[in-house]
Amino acid sequence: MARPSGPPRESPLSVQAVPVTSGRAPEGLTAADRKRMLRVMLLSRALDERGMTLQRQGRIGFYVPVEGQEGAQVGCAVALDPKDWLCPGYRETAVALSRGIPLRQLLSQLYGDRADLCQGRQMPNHFAFREFRFVSASSPIGTQIPHAVGLALAARLKGEKVVSVAFFGDGATSSNDFHSGMNFAGVYRAPVIFFCQNNQWAISLPRSKQTRSETLAQKAEAYGFSGLQVDGNDVEAVYAAVKEARARAIAGGGPTLIEAVTYRMGPHTTSDDPRRYRSAEELALWKSRDPVERLKETLVREHALTEEEFDQFLEAARAEVAAAIQEVEPLPPPDPGTLFDDVFARRTPQLEEQRAAFLAELPGSGGRKE
């Protein structure tokens, strides 16, 4: 892994020239493990394919694709303990899948249906899964970063040997809460990992205009802890980096900022057209570094995977997504009365009154007005 003090780079694209691993194969990651990782990456990609289409067809309202960042996300998630806390942004679908969150639950969130654990209250991809310690994502950028610090400090106070991970992108490194979280974590030596997926673009703003810093990883230095840059499209390198950061945190060595250099191959969301701000050549270059293809090639080269097997995996992933969509799509939207739940632990008298009036005025309620 290149330390932030590595050789100067001319542009974000040249980062791939930086040596990213020590050359050692990550310990404890067998071919079978990597095949499982590949399948999760393919599942995420299959969900992206359908998610984009479902939005275009008007069947869901919005979609945030992961495409291109699967290696970074799965590499990171697999290196963690299931008890570690995750503070995601809204582009962490492959992290969720990697943690074993059922596809059906993700789809219910995308549809905002009655089975959605969030009761259809958020835009698609803003997941929350308490049972999996996958904290509720919001749309403001960077706000989850101090949450990870608080979770890590709380766990330490209670004597639980876990870490928390804040997921965010290159854009978030300019946010107020990046500074807040990084500084608090440094001061308290919190067992936290700041996992930055530098996907080169914050909607239309390139990484080069986000900060004058040579790397994002070097920002850790000012906060008094380690930062490192890793090839985010190399799932094994990411895994190794996160393993190391996790071990350091658990041992009391404090936080780590990991800059996983990757690329958002798709649009920011279904509302975005990246052709307005980036070239076809750039996209083609990064498609040649596709993390899925890379892992596949490695496994094929090691004779751990055949082309036929890969095709089967991809078909299986697509079939799984299709089956889950079929299962979820008929589900009705949340019950209208739930609109007033979970504002507080219990509805206030004001909310009770509004709820009663709302229900009385609903079509089909008999039209009784106050």
Binding site: W85, C87, D116, L117, C118, Q119, R121, Q122, H126, A128, F129, R130, V135, S136, S138, S139, P140, T143, I145, P146, H147, A148, V149, G150, L151, A152, L153, A154, A155, L157, K158, S164, N176, D177, H179, S180, G181, N183, F184, V187, Y188, D341, D342, V343, F344, A345, R346, T348, P349, Q350
Partner: protein, 325 residues
């Protein structure tokens, strides 16, 4: 019962809560070694250690964001914002995260944080140590807003806030932190949130106030007794949720209402009360509702005594209402 100041009531509530529950942790600027700039956390670092009484870097968003994370884990963090005037860097955390986590996660991630913040004028604090901006927070669904006006309520409401299940902004009227001591019940004294207090019974007019305006209104009401005007004073105590029933009960009895707050008038909390009375008590009203408030200016320094509602201004407003009909 012990006679305490309001700030001592706060201190006692924090100590009681920390003794009762190891999950209660404090964080904020200067709250540890220094015991807080107002001494709200005096002695607590020594008693509970730096893991539970955390001096933080000077960054309100970091304080609230970290507290949110702790609450997500299951702790009961109580964060001090040194002055309400300095809370704005944390506004995003409060509005976008703290107040919405339970809702947006379908109840999976309740986020119970108490934010304590001294607020209000009358201490020669100028623009940035005096403001009352409770209305900004009262308008955010998912956040409770509580304001004590007596030492006993400071303790009782704070203990209830700490052991509540929802995020609470606990506003402390710093002007009366020390000036008006009162009897405070010992031990685990709790005052339920969402209940107003009848500070003084009367039949001619209802006066609604909270925080440091309660003693001002109290004095005004007392002064009018001699003129045969018997004012009822309601201390709201909880702006969210509001004890509507108590307000309506009082106005149905008196037929007149005067609302007193330090914050500017336009879109102030008093507007909500006036609207409530217009919607639900119009036929009980004998006279127009009157508001006595700060002016629609930034908070002044040299002229703060003229800006803040005074006993005199409140008295005149009450008289005007009663004489109107």
């Amino acid at each position: 019962m012990t006679e305490l100041t309001l700030i001592q009531g706060v201190n006692q509530a924090l100590r009681e809560a920390m003794k009762a529950d190891p999950d209660v942790v404090l964080l904020g600027e200067d709250i540890g070694v220094n015991g807080g700039v107002f001494r709200a956390t005096e002695g607590l670092l020594k008693e509970f250690g730096e893991d539970r009484v955390m001096d933080t870097p000077l960054n309100e968003s970091g304080i609230v964001g970290t507290a949110v994370g702790m609450a997500l884990y299951g702790l009961k963090p109580v964060a001090e914002i040194q002055f309400l005037d300095f809370i704005y860097p944390a506004f995003d955390q409060i509005v976008s995260e703290l107040a919405k986590l339970r809702y947006r996660s379908g109840g999976q991630f309740p986020c119970h944080v108490v934010l304590r913040a001294p607020y209000g004028g009358g201490i020669k604090g100028g623009l940035y140590h005096s403001q009352s901006t409770e209305q900004l927070f009262a308008s955010i669904p998912g956040l409770k807003v509580v304001v004590p006006s007596t030492p006993a309520d400071a303790k009782g409401l704070l203990l209830s806030s700490i052991f509540d299940e929802d995020p609470v902004l606990f506003l402390e009227p710093k002007r009366i932190y020390r000036s008006l001591p009162g009897e405070v019940p010992d031990g685990d004294h709790r005052v339920p949130l969402g209940t107003a207090r009848v500070a003084r019974e009367g039949s001619d007019v209802s006066v609604f106030a909270y925080g440091a305006m309660v003693p001002v209104a109290q004095q005004a009401c007392q002064g009018l007794d001699a003129q045969g005007i018997h004012a009822e004073l309601i201390d709201l105590r909880s702006l969210v949720p509001l004890d509507e029933a108590a307000l309506l009960r009082s106005v149905e009895k008196t037929g007149r209402a005067v609302i007193v707050h330090e914050a500017p008038r336009f879109c102030g909390y008093g507007a909500e009360i006036a609207a409530l009375l217009a919607e639900k008590a119009l036929y009980s009203l004998k006279a127009p509702v009157v508001r006595v408030t700060g002016y629609d200016t930034p908070f002044p320094y040299a002229l703060e005594h003229l800006y803040l509602p005074s006993v005199d201004r409140v008295s005149r407003a009450i008289e005007r209402t009663v004489r109107a009909a």
